[in-house]
Symmetry: D2
Subunit: 141 residues, 4 copies
């Protein structure tokens, strides 16, 4: 399944809940947690992996989500601050699984966790492509 | 796991993509598909199951999502129309799994599918409660 | 200010509030009303004016919002249906003002109204351009 | 129009664009700028004025937006950081006008500006009420 080492580094990004994330139940709307993960990933790709989403785009490549799973434990609310922890869980020839955990600050109690599967896609053809060696290297940390 | 019959009815709701659903990749943003499912469920609870979300609220009850899984097949785009098909996949003592499929219209090609797990919650205590018999009956169709 | 006739046609589009539009105050979030106007405009450009946003894009043109004003009267809520009425209020050499009214259905009581100013922009240069004659003609109804 | 002093303090909050704020034109979606203002205001009410939105809610009071105006100058894009500057522009018996400016960082070039009018509302009756003296005092800085 994976030709990558067992243990990949975990990276953390801190974010604040925005008032427009709150829904009719007075909690962060269920679909916003993946937006937090997305935001954290954009930051971490550039800061921690050394290859920003823009650099992928410049090479004609994009990461398309093929599936996502979220396990909701404790909802975040108005004014909450969180840490979003992400890591590569596995790498295959054409994609990877990114695991994540969102903890409420300052208690660091788990709010939700899950994973997203991504395929690397040639933006011109729209087809999945093999992950180039230099990309694989950068992501195998 | 489930004390409910094997086969539950599937219900359909048609929706249009809104321009503000489109993201930087020119497709419906990945987290909006669950919002379509949520919108379809609100309609179907009232129209097809005969018990609206408001009636749950009036009884001091709410459905809290405990997990969700989405499998993305073909992204929807600007101006697209879709059908959202939902059904009860299983009922347990305190919750249920709702399966869904979103197909693009008019071709009815699959855009995404998945499921959401819900727990019935007492809105005052915030704790999960057993599904009342009359609710179980309405949902066992 | 305007070289266009005084009276332009008004067009209507009906929309439903989506559950994810509701905010912490149990009403449609204040910024979503302009999203309803945007959705109605996309429909009306194609259906009523005979030139869709896509056709503008294909000609290398885009409409960029330069200002917006919204007057909030009565908030919409969960499950509400509305009619969004839009019209050209004035056309200048390089832009136009679109007036709008959103009424709650079936009572047609006013929920909000206002206007959006747009500039026609060359998508390559990013600069505002004069509205081509054929476009002006289509919009002067 | 206003029984308040001419000059009120301006407060600043720095925010980051989130990837889900970007729309089909690769810029921050036009309706998100007011969400940034709202987020900045929530922070500033607590940090700078010494009375959080929650404290208003606890007293049975809420601020309802009655109108908004946004003038768009230069769109923000993916990865951008901004400063949101807000201030009380005028106070009337039952409401206030909040002015705002959003500047892109680090250049501090203007992205947009405008104002929001608010009415103080009794959350039980839904009617506008006179601003209590202690609130007026806190906001007259």
């Amino acid at each position: 399944m994976s030709d990558a080492p067992d243990i990949f580094a975990k990276f953390e990004t801190e974010l604040d809940v925005r008032p427009d994330d709150i829904d009719l139940y007075q909690h962060v709307h269920s679909t916003r947690y993946l937006d937090y993960v997305l935001a954290a990933r954009f930051t971490q790709m550039e800061r921690d992996y050394g290859m920003s989403m823009q650099e992928f785009t410049d090479r004609g490549l994009g990461w398309f989500m093929t599936s996502s799973q979220v396990n909701y434990k404790r909802p975040l609310g108005l004014g909450d601050r969180m840490v979003v922890r992400c890591w590569i869980e596995s790498i295959t020839e054409r994609g990877c699984r990114v695991g994540f955990e969102i903890d409420r600050l300052p208690t660091r109690k788990r709010s939700c966790d899950g994973f997203c599967d991504y395929s690397l896609v040639d933006l011109t053809s729209g087809r999945s492509v093999a992950i180039p060696d230099d990309v694989r290297k950068k992501y195998s940390i």
